[in-house]
Symmetry: C2
Subunit: 230 residues, 2 copies
């Protein structure tokens, strides 16, 4: 049987690794895509490559884009990454780690890739629960993107294929994502989450991303297999 | 009076130069953006820079993206650019010069730029008449993009600003675009249109893009001020 092709956005983090495992588990022929976008945490690119290779994906592409050309985010500029915030604080406003239009740009490259390989499915690990207030993680955004994508491409014109933006993690809490991954054998020691690791690539343990990850494992009464500075 | 900021997609071609002149004429504070995307016709980048400078825009950004990573188009791969086709032939199907998801990718960068500088207006020179069958030049696509863009960004969440995708050339014939430009003083000798220029940067005169341009001037009973190989 010929497997259905999918493009999976892979950062090598906890969410996108679970996402890839899920797509593989559902029987998709996965093509992964990562972005080198001037992020502080470039160690995630090595992690993504490693995860892609662990899952033996058909092709792994790394796209170079320079989001630093615009600035506007703590992840791509000299602004400080916020530390030790409560979940309540994280929910209050859009944080400075938000990268303007990042998911829109990422999905647009995934769309180009999907069109070239004739894939009908794109997987993105957005999450509307522990989403730290990013606008481009909301379900209504994803739905609008899907509508646009079907008008943007040849398939839309020729009516051959319908393109789906799959977001299986959208309504899951971090602990539920981890449970889902564990159920299909994800090894979380191979994933990387931190916004602000030290030079050795060790996670800080205090940025929003680390705190949400730790909270997820805590809720499952499990030890997170990765190392933290604190 | 403080001018409204706009991001204008500028390739240095006939359409986008007219577009910039239009936005300037309407009183916008223009920030232009061009893309180096592995296109055959890199001479257009020099042209875009020159046009941006002629119009004294506030800022001109060139974004490097590698669409060759995906291939799939005659503009970014080794496929041959079609020549000497009739307008009827051009309309028949989506040509191989179509770059998968190109406008979606371009608009996504424009969206990031607009968000960072807090602009509410993006101008793109798409055209649904002489559009050579590109799906991402259709009005329904632009409208879907605008809806998505307003959900993708901080402004959408905070309800502060509404983002507009402006397409003043959408329903104009090539000759009408040229007339519009002439009325506001565009110097078309400074614009560049060809998909497949020679090493000296001289337009081929026979690709779809050159043929549509020539036809536009012909309909106005005017001489196109640029030079052609034939």
């Amino acid at each position: 049987m010929i497997k259905k092709k999918a493009v999976v956005l892979l950062s090598g983090g906890l969410d996108s690794t679970t996402l890839l495992a899920y797509a593989i588990d559902k029987g998709f022929d996965c093509h992964t895509i990562s972005f080198s976008y001037g992020q502080r945490h470039e160690v995630e690119l090595a992690c993504a490559k490693n995860v892609a290779s662990l899952y033996d994906v058909t092709e792994h592409k790394v796209i170079e884009i320079d989001l630093r050309a615009f600035g506007g985010s703590a992840l791509t500029s000299e602004m400080k990454v916020p530390k030790d915030r409560s979940v309540l604080e994280m929910d209050k406003e859009i944080p400075i780690t938000y990268v303007p239009a990042r998911n829109t740009i990422f999905l647009s490259f995934a769309l180009a890739y999907a069109e070239v390989i004739k894939a009908c499915d794109i997987f993105i690990g957005v999450n509307a629960v522990d989403y730290s207030g990013y606008p481009d993680c909301r379900p209504e955004y994803i739905s609008a993107y899907e509508t646009m994508a079907n008008l943007a491409t040849k398939s839309g014109v020729e009516g051959e294929r319908r393109l789906n933006i799959n977001t299986p993690l959208l309504s899951l809490k971090k602990s539920e994502i981890i449970q889902m991954g564990l159920d299909i054998g994800v090894d979380y020691s191979k994933t990387f989450t931190c916004y602000d690791p030290n030079v050795a690539g060790i996670s800080c343990g205090t940025c929003d991303s680390c705190l949400l990850r730790k909270k997820g494992f805590l809720e499952l009464h499990m030890k997170d297999p990765i190392q933290y500075q604190k």
